[in-house]
Amino acid sequence: MTLDTVKHAAETPDTKLPWAELGLKEDEYARVREILGRRPTGAELAMYSVMWSEHCSYKSSKVHLRQFGEKAPQSDAMLVGIGENAGVVDVGHGYAVTFKVESHNHPSYVEPYQGAATGVGGIVRDIIAMGARPVAVVDPLRMGAADHPDTKRVLPGVVAGIGGYGNCLGLPNIGGELVFDACYQGNPLVNAGAIGVMRHEDIHLAKASGPGNKVILYGARTGGDGIGGASILASETFDDAKPSKRPAVQVGDPFQEKLLIECTLEAFAEKLVVGIQDLGAAGLSCATSELASNGTGGMRVELDDVPLRDSTLTPEEILMSESQERMCAVVEPEKVERFLAICEKWDVTATVVGEVTDGDRLEIFWHGEKIVDLDPRTVAHDGPVYERPYARPSWQDALQADDANKLPRPATSAELREQVIQLVASPNQASKSWVTDQYDRFVQGNTVLAQPEDSGMVRIDEQTGLGVALANDGNGRYSKLDPYAGAQLALAEAYRNVAATGARPLAVSDCLNFGSPEDTDVMWQFAETTRGLADACLTLGTPVTGGNVSLYNQTGEAAIHPTPVVSVLGVIDDVSRRTPIAFAEEGQLLYLLGETREEFGGSAWSQVVHDHLGGLPPRVDLERERLLAEILISASRDGMIDAAHDLSDGGLVQAVAESCLRGGKGARLVVPDGLDGFTFLFSESAGRAVVAVPRSEELRFTDMCGARGLPVTRIGVVDGDAVELQGEFSIELTELRAAYEQTLPGLFG
């Protein structure tokens, strides 16, 4: 076998390469040839093909994502924005916080445990690559129908994988979502998010600067993981006798990752690192080309020095391998010894594999021969950009015309009561303890709030009580009805959830899960979503700091609901001021903040009772959201409320049920003037929350709402052992608890 060196490639311009099998389009391959002025070598082709893939290049989504930058609100908090491994925001007292959400959808369908586990591993490496200590994880999940047999395979595996990995890393899981819907049957969504904390001066970036500086690869050895494409390259064109077995599934090693965290942080603390990049999708191809192109010079890499788990790997495969738990650091020569000593201390394999050069090329060598010689920018940043066609789906009007407000409503008090129980017991509304009890929420000793609170909250400074909160939301049903409004509702809900716990919303990360961008309907949904989200972020003053796009979540013709998952990060000056959801004190007054309209399109009620999806989602009023948030934050700071719960899917009755069960106290509710009991209980109007106010604070609180123009309605009192709607029905907490808590254990054991 002749090694396909740069020289060889120049001499054999007519050699056919399997660019199509590697996923490149004809014009893309032509561009590669044009960029290089010759045909690529096998190794170069491997790099271009993975880095120009949809996953790594964002070629279909880029033109739309630009709005997040173009429409970004002015924010003093933003320290590092879109384009790095994760965004960074200033939270005061010299602390900076980084956070991001990513998808690991497809791998989690193929192998739920490992797919989900490695999803957590990947997002945590993004956080450490910024210089931060990870302090919490979250896991927004979407599964197929709760009673579908395949969901019994996927969900328990996913939950065990997220727990198995996150628990072993010592990261408290402080939030997430679990939504069941048949549209996710063949395409479950496994999104994972992480938060990290650092001092301002510790922020690190992925760039290789300073000629002579060493490139160190450390962590797990490189194996043949996730390199199906490269194997084609190796076997069909260059060597027919290659081993055929290359695993499509990667197995995670959380213990290795824990060591990686500790040794990386120790190296940061000793100021040993000039630039750093995690190895995720596209492995070394991505890390070397991104480090080099973001730096000032070029880079030279000796591929023979990469520690291997499998000695039969070809250079193409080494470049593409997605073996987990690896990082790449750029270190000044005189600090290399110390860096390696820290790795040794933590039993982490570390090897110098290259150095920064004063040129501008990325050069990679194998057995002493040059097999890659290219401008790293062309791989990392100058990938193809598509303006994919899109159009409003032909079915959209009919869907919106199918008005949920016209569905038959409960006719009697008994029926109303029955539907409350049905709602609370439905898989999407029922308690998620079956999931969250499998996650460690206490580790690190800083968890102030975790599930089932409105947002997760961790303390980041013991002296001052400074803390951060994170909430993730997304409602695919709303987005299906109106993707522009759906994205805004997702943001509004996460924003409201953060404020409900007393934290001030600061910044946004998002994970956009969609079907195929080659479908004009899907592309329209995507365009509408990004436009809606960017507009709303501008209005609410919360910039998007980063995120992730997952496309092709589609089985045949059927795409999933457009599902933007929006994460809002908030800050709270003193976590002792946090507001929980629990109604814990008898006699406290319950107030409903905001306005309730007849809005049932996409509602939980329409799904649970009628299996219906149609009409319009709730109206969005971002100014109202902002006002509501201000009230909730002030009330928390000044001690005017003891509990708050945001109203979202399931409406008021769901929120009240959760707050009562959490606090172990009942509530007596009265239908306010101008509303009927059904609308009062089940409407999903946005911009609302329910709060528990101590009697001594009642006047102060209502005056504040009145003065600022927020509608506030007294709806009842915390009292007794039942949730009672005066004149209609009463449900004992024991019955309510059984309905709420038994559903998931009943389904999943």
């Binding site: 081993p243 077995k245 695993p247 599934v249 090693d253 499998d310």
Partner: protein
């Protein structure tokens, strides 16, 4: 009653963090000369009735669809003659 054993091991190309951790610990415990360790699972099944070809075919199917995850694992079905670990 007859005993059938199903051994399930990670495929050779798949990372085996457990086996690795064991192997790395051995020299520290004073055990040299072990070049590699892989850790897998062993299932001992007590089969009612005769272990004939039909029974073995069923167990093979069970191993393939349930005991092993063939995306990442290989398996082997053996009829035990000895008594297994004591």
């Amino acid at each position: 009653m007859a005993r059938v054993v199903v051994d399930v091991m990670l495929k050779p190309e798949i990372l085996d963090p457990q086996g690795q951790a064991v192997q790395r610990a051995l020299p520290r415990l004073g055990f040299e000369g072990i070049a590699d360790v892989r850790q897998g699972k062993r299932f001992e099944l007590e089969v009612e009735g005769p272990v004939d070809d039909a029974a073995l075919a069923r167990i093979h199917e069970m191993a393939e669809t349930f005991l092993a995850n063939t995306v990442i694992e290989d398996f082997e079905v053996k009829v035990e003659t000895s008594e297994g670990p004591k």
